[in-house]
Symmetry: C2
Subunit: 337 residues, 2 copies
């Protein structure tokens, strides 16, 4: 049976919401979960839920934890942290996937160096499926790698392609490279050097994508350097929050607007579901040897359960086998150098 | 009297809305406007508005125009285009500012090479004041320069500082550099090299800003490479459009929600005013010898009038003198190399 190791000490609502998420996963998904962290904190939560004897929920004690602002360099030295121990369970084959809502840099570090990269993959990358009116667009990389070389972006493109095909069910996904103009030749040095390489692959490469394409549904996969992807992702999140706050301020000024907002709530909630990270779980580090799911720091029980579900889906769909295959067949020899 | 040269052939609604914007500017701001473009198209619009004899509105005939997808390299060769002729009026001192809603790359090209850069400025950059719940944050550069060197970012920081101080009235603006982590040492090579230089300036440098700070009001000025700024700006715009469209789809499904939306309209319109480019006019190319205002391609008459207003404000506040002064006093010798 497949088992997922969950870092129970990472995240704003750890350990309570994380443990609750593990319980939901065991109950609803029927999977085995290793709850890694301080036993004295985890056990009472399981006991209170009447789940302390559930064989699907096994505590692995780990005395230390990684703080949210701890530099990733510390992480690999702190071998008794819940995150490191969870990653080691995956490395040793005890568990087949890792979920953590902790410090993203730390999860990346153990994902890259403890779980390790899949053969053929030079640099694992974070792919995120962003919603748009027509469906979803995979943006990759959103923060695992900065100062990328062209060959890395080519690999990200294949990872994004595989993610779109296997996990989102998109056939022959349209792949673009993020740039600041539509035409070939527009962009920075990295884009200009990567463009001909992508053109030479067997991907359905559609050329340059612009910032406006990210939420427009005009591409299925958009590749970029992790620095660029990360600031876009975080700017998007903050824009969403700012807009909501500014609209709320305006609504407060009039009772008619307040009533209007009330009537709109169900529609807004339906929309929120499409955009809410808690619904779709965490974000995968693609190219790691086993699924590594980075969950939002504000993750609640539902987000954790859904992250575990995502990890299982990666296993069930044989994502890594397909990725390895695609890296071999979609990139002609000579392009990957 | 100050005069602004307006490219009447650039933009989705050119020449009608552009000419109408010039008329509004002459009427409401009392400034002289050179309407540059095909006389046979511009004159009938002026005549119909009863403004063909207004001495504030002077047509300068230019036979050609720059298309929206025309490469910037063509622009400098097409010397009879409305954009080039308008820029030349500024260069020659006939007009003191340039406004165009045309092809952004083309406006940048004439801004940099026909109007030219202010002394002390190595690379003019586009600064945009983005709204947040607490006020505005200047993001610079959003597309004039890619593959920047650290010293360029330092200059952008001073341009952004001057813009925030002079145009937004922010005292001692908090300056940050866009990165992917808060702590010094996080980021890509460019950020790591620029950080100590910014620290050595006399700016109110607050360290790394993250993507989430752009719309949070935690910094007054955020500097970045033009590639990064451009994709963020365009992604933000497309996210806004996507959210509105997705919410509309949900609203359509229920009559209660439709009613709610109706009651909310005034509040939403108030919010929209804060975010709408037509309200605040165009985006300035900072560091050009004279104000160059890049207006949105979808600009209507109001956006054009407001862009002309912005150009006049740059002149009235002696922005360039202050910028030149700041470049000399805020950057200690040795940093700018």
């Amino acid at each position: 049976m497949e088992a997922i190791a969950v870092d129970c000490m990472g995240g704003d609502y750890a350990p309570l919401e994380i443990v609750r998420g593990c319980i939901l996963a065991a109950r609803e998904l029927g999977c085995k979960v290793y709850l890694v962290g301080k036993e004295e904190e985890i056990y009472p939560i399981l006991k209170k839920a009447g789940e302390d004897k559930n064989p699907l929920l096994e505590i692995i004690n780990a005395e230390e934890k990684i703080e949210m602002n701890e530099p990733p360099s510390n992480v690999l030295r702190k071998k008794n942290s819940s995150l490191f121990v969870a990653a080691k369970l995956v490395r040793e084959g005890v568990a087949q996937g890792l979920v953590s809502a902790g410090n993203t840099g730390a999860v990346l570090a153990v994902g890259k160096f403890v779980v390790g990269a899949e053969e053929e993959v030079e640099r694992p990358a974070i792919g995120v499926a962003l919603p748009n009116p027509k469906g979803k667009t995979v943006l990759i990389d959103v923060g695992a790698n900065v100062d990328c070389k062209p060959r890395h972006l080519v690999q990200f493109a294949v990872m994004g392609h595989t993610y779109a095909e296997v996990m989102l069910g998109i056939k022959n996904p349209r792949v673009g490279i993020l740039s600041i103009g539509e035409e070939e030749g527009k962009g920075n040095e990295l884009v200009k050097e990567t463009y001909p390489l992508l053109k030479a692959t067997r991907l359905n490469f559609k050329g340059n994508a612009e910032g406006r394409d990210i939420y427009a549904g005009t591409f299925d996969v958009i590749v970029c350097d992790g620095f660029v992807g990360n600031v876009i992702l975080k700017a998007s999140e903050s824009l969403g929050l700012a807009v909501v706050q500014m609209i709320k301020e305006e609504i407060k000024k009039s009772w008619l607007a307040k009533l209007g907002a009330l009537l709109l709530m169900p529609a807004l909630n339906n929309f929120k579901k499409k955009a809410d990270f808690a619904e779709y779980g965490g974000i995968p580090l693609l190219g790691a040897k086993k699924p590594v799911i980075i969950t939002h720091g504000r993750a609640n029980a539902k987000a954790i359960k859904n992250s575990i579900k995502v990890a299982l889906e990666f296993l069930d769909t044989h994502f890594n086998e397909k990725l390895t295959q695609n890296l071999k067949t979609l990139i002609p020899e000579g392009v990957n150098v």
